[in-house]
Amino acid sequence: MISEIRIPKLGMTQANISVVELTRANGSAVRAGETVAVIETAKVSFELKSPTSGLIFYLKKVKDNVSIGTLLAVVTDSQAAFDDFYKSLASEKEEHACSQFEAPENEEKWGVQISFDDEAPVRSVASSLRQPLQVDIGDRKILKRTPFVGMRRTIAENLVASLQTGAQLTIVSEADMTELADFRKELRLDFPDTQITFVDLLVKILAFVLKEFPVLNSSVVGDEIICWDEYHIGVAVALDDGLVVPVVRNADKKSLVAVSREIKKLSRKARQKELKPETFEGGTFTLSSGGKVETEFMTPIINPPQNAILGIGKIGPKPAVYQGELAIRTRAYLCLTHDHRVIDGVPASQFLGRLKDVIEHRKQFSKILK
């Protein structure tokens, strides 16, 4: 009996699926439900599991580009069964000149992912990525070689495209987070089941402040600037081998505890590579936290088609002037990158000022964080 493992349809993403890992040796025994391969689309990496127990034979290699429905591997009872299957496959291929086992047609477009803007500049970006400086490897010592495909490639292309299509600049303000930190400690007592993080608090605060500054929660679509009446906040999650930005939908409507639980679930699933592509779609603003690292401030790159992103530097004790005295306060830099095509300096500064105002005063944020 032959069980086929084909590339599944993963949400909206159709193109640029690549094989990044084949976890078993050809012909080795696998059990039903065991991971046999890892594929990556432009947005997610995804583990393929064996549908049944048997011997696995791969029909694709690592780094191969595949498309939805492509036969990646088969699980059979025996080597002989696979040989028969392979023969029939080969003859079928001759008959129909089956394209399944050839490079996908759209390989020429490899890297063109961005559809929110004119294609012309993006295409040139992609092609510039495709032809990096020639490096003569020769007999140089190599620690590790990693295929520059899949998620890594997508991150690269999206970020370069973002920088090339917008007029991005970053403004920075320092906020006193002492009251927010105290508030967080109280929440720990009141909600012992849920560890509330600064990111959770800031997602809620952002969703609130964005309502007062619609242009910060917007996208350029065709020849229009669309301000969204939905507050879907992307939260950057670092992975061992990359970065993903899953989206907390309707962050304005959910309670703090619900937002917190959702962010934890999204992060966990991202690390386990179980996130579905829909999870990355529809974000209207992004929060990037340098939280656990020592980075003081940053210039985050906008996640298109959004028009702004907020980066938070290290949150920690710093000397500050507080009520006319020098004091040790918990502070952090708020770094807002905005697209000057859409958002001018003054509204961006006003937004940042209002955000700082809310973060610094318990009277303001305690109304939002419920």
Binding site: N250, S255, V257, A258, R261, E262, K265
Partner: protein
């Protein structure tokens, strides 16, 4: 490959397979060798009297004995025949079982599985019919499981037996005696705790149904379709830990929440979920949360009154229509 078995077989197979895999697993309880309901039938033939132990009718004592065995490296499967009887063992279950891992700073694990039958409608009157799941919800450290299909019963019971923490499995008598059939995969499989399943997708309202109420909810869903009302039915499968994500993702979509259970309404499972929804998803609620549960009365001995006592398809339909 899958095959079709009934609910009782699923429970029996789960125990037999785990007993084969792990010599520390044994069955303990009143009349388990004969097994008047049938879940443990035949186990004594395969595993002998040393691993299928009949006990006196003394629920508190036998639960304590099982706990002692668990602390000494065994994995007892304790049968408390009727959930009503488990009330006699609440000292062991609520005061000790779930708390000892914490109290001893993690020195002891209590890998014990308690199986007990719930559910009315079989003319067994007030002392053998109650669904008392909500009594256990307050106890910390317990995992509470309520399967509604043979697949869930087998997978969750195997997880329970392998769990290093105490698990209570509630088996509905209508599922045990009703011969409810379903597919299970060949070979070994388990189901993780805290993962709900969507029994039916829908867009107009979310019905969270526990255990046997899933069948009532699905029947209600069928009937409501005639009125163009499309409800989503969610089976949490584990009461604790509760899969809030699946429930609230559904609520985000439908904006209406109904909880159906066979426990009594006051302080029941529905009360807990309603409170969570109001606290965390208030903005998504387009209508008041509805609870479908049993009334605050003893279960009547009269068959006619017992049928009136039980929440069912019709009470779910009424609840859905109240909020639409």
């Amino acid at each position: 490959m899958t095959r079709t078995i009934n609910f009782m077989q699923a429970i029996n197979e789960a125990m037999a397979e785990e007993m084969r895999n792990d010599p520390t697993v044994f069955v303990f309880g009143e009349d388990v060798r004969v097994s008047p309901f049938g879940q443990t039938a035949g186990l004594v033939d395969e595993f002998g009297e040393e691993r299928v132990l009949n006990t006196p009718i003394a629920e508190n004592a036998i639960t304590g004995a099982a706990m002692g065995a668990a602390m000494n490296g065994m994995r007892p499967i304790l049968e408390l025949m009727f959930c009503d009887f488990s009330m006699l063992a609440m000292d062991q279950i609520c005061n000790h079982l779930g708390q000892w891992r914490y109290i001893t700073g993690g020195q002891y694990q209590i890998p014990i599985t308690i199986r007990t039958a719930v559910g009315a409608g079989l003319r067994m009157a007030y002392g053998h019919s109650q669904s008392l799941e909500s009594q256990f919800v307050q106890a910390p450290g317990l995992i509470l499981v309520e399967p509604s299909t043979p697949y869930d019963a087998k997978g969750l019971l195997k997880s329970a037996i392998r769990s290093d923490d105490p698990v209570v499995v509630f088996e509905h008598k209508k599922l045990i005696f009703g011969g409810v059939e379903g597919e299970v995969p060949d070979g070994d499989f388990t189901i993780p705790f805290g993962e709900a399943v969507v029994r039916k997708e829908g867009k107009d309202a979310t019905v969270v149904a526990f255990g046997f109420m899933n069948y009532e909810a699905l029947a209600a869903a069928q009937e409501l379709l005639q009125d163009n009302i499309d409800i989503e039915v969610i089976d949490p499968r584990t009461i604790v830990p509760l899969d809030k994500d699946t429930i609230f993702e559904s609520l985000e979509k439908t904006g209406r929440l109904i909880i159906a259970e066979e426990c009594r309404i006051r302080g029941g499972l529905g009360a807990e979920i309603a409170a969570l929804a109001c606290g965390e998803y208030f903005s998504f609620l387009n209508a008041p949360v509805q609870r479908v549960a049993a009334p605050m009365i003893p279960i009547p001995g009269s068959p006619i009154l017992e049928d009136l006592y039980l929440p069912n398809k019709d009470s779910i339909i009424r609840a859905v229509k109240r909020v639409l």
